[in-house]
Symmetry: C3
Subunit: 151 residues, 3 copies
Amino acid sequence: MSVYEKLTALRITLPPIATPAALYVPYAITGNLLFLSGHIAKQDGKPWVGQFGLNMTTDRGKEAARSVAIDLIGTMHAAIGDLNRISRIVKLMVLVNSAPTFTEHHLVANGASELFGEVFGEPGKHVRSAFGVAQIPLGSCVEIELVAELR
Amino acid sequence: MSVYEKLTALRITLPPIATPAALYVPYAITGNLLFLSGHIAKQDGKPWVGQFGLNMTTDRGKEAARSVAIDLIGTMHAAIGDLNRISRIVKLMVLVNSAPTFTEHHLVANGASELFGEVFGEPGKHVRSAFGVAQIPLGSCVEIELVAELR
Amino acid sequence: MSVYEKLTALRITLPPIATPAALYVPYAITGNLLFLSGHIAKQDGKPWVGQFGLNMTTDRGKEAARSVAIDLIGTMHAAIGDLNRISRIVKLMVLVNSAPTFTEHHLVANGASELFGEVFGEPGKHVRSAFGVAQIPLGSCVEIELVAELR
């Protein structure tokens, strides 16, 4: 199955590319590396506000991380026109909006990691850092940055 | 206008390369990528101390981020001798020293992003992650890490 | 001295590759760059729990960062089979689990930076960002991500 067939099988519709909230660009290509800006979790087009350990559960966080992964795939599609050009998801940085007591960032991040595995298969396996930050722009609960390799 | 003419037009004098506060180097080149260490905001040569949501305003933060961008440009000049060798500012990571209530990291980060746009023009457009951290070395209010592409 | 002779001289035994706590891989190679996932500090195989400014000292943190560096070297050995293939440690991102009052992240991070200098010599010199995060998966006190260049 191609990446697009997998997206269809998962009933995922790619969103249009997200407009950065500020003065930067959503993606940059250098050599065969595609760098994506940090994408914040959104719900109905607005920041998905919440802080883990305070007013968000790990399960909801997994959903939020999965939704960011879909937005990242949408941005990659807009950037390169054909997702099959992605030879490897190289790296995620997963920022989890955390009260100092929350320690399940890795489980939240799995919401994104699982989706990349489902959609891209073996080339979807990536290195990752996940950790708790004090806050995220606009109060969003999760922010994810990505590096991919192009063929 | 060359990059240096733009710096002059903006009345920006590049500082000498910052001495790392610890056991690392200010820059590393691999292939045609230039990686810069996280640079902390300074005022009069000392850490620009402050925490957003507590004792720093967003406007002051923009100034602090702009000053870090100038320091980063100074380090790039020292690293490669000629800023016109930079074909692209690829990526910024902007760390904002935040109380858990502050949510305008993207506006603080714009202080740096705007300057890169002014100085480098189109090649100054970059991807970016900005987020709130619990603290920054020596209590500085902003820390920025950069990746650039060399021609 | 080769890298392995230096490890022996320092009486360092490389651990087996760490099993990721979640759905990602410990390393990824793209071109001649080796990316490692964030590795958390462990003690006796369990997360080395602690928060600086609350219940961890800077000196203990240096030890924790050094132990993460050893784990990272173990992962690099497992990834490429021969550590002498590393032409350069390019970059560290050092996350320090911090109460909002702690400001010595750079000193904690030195525990890792020093070890890379001792083991790899000149090619061990790297760029670095070190900062305080709100929490780290499983409550670990330090997490470090690494990029290296291969020959």
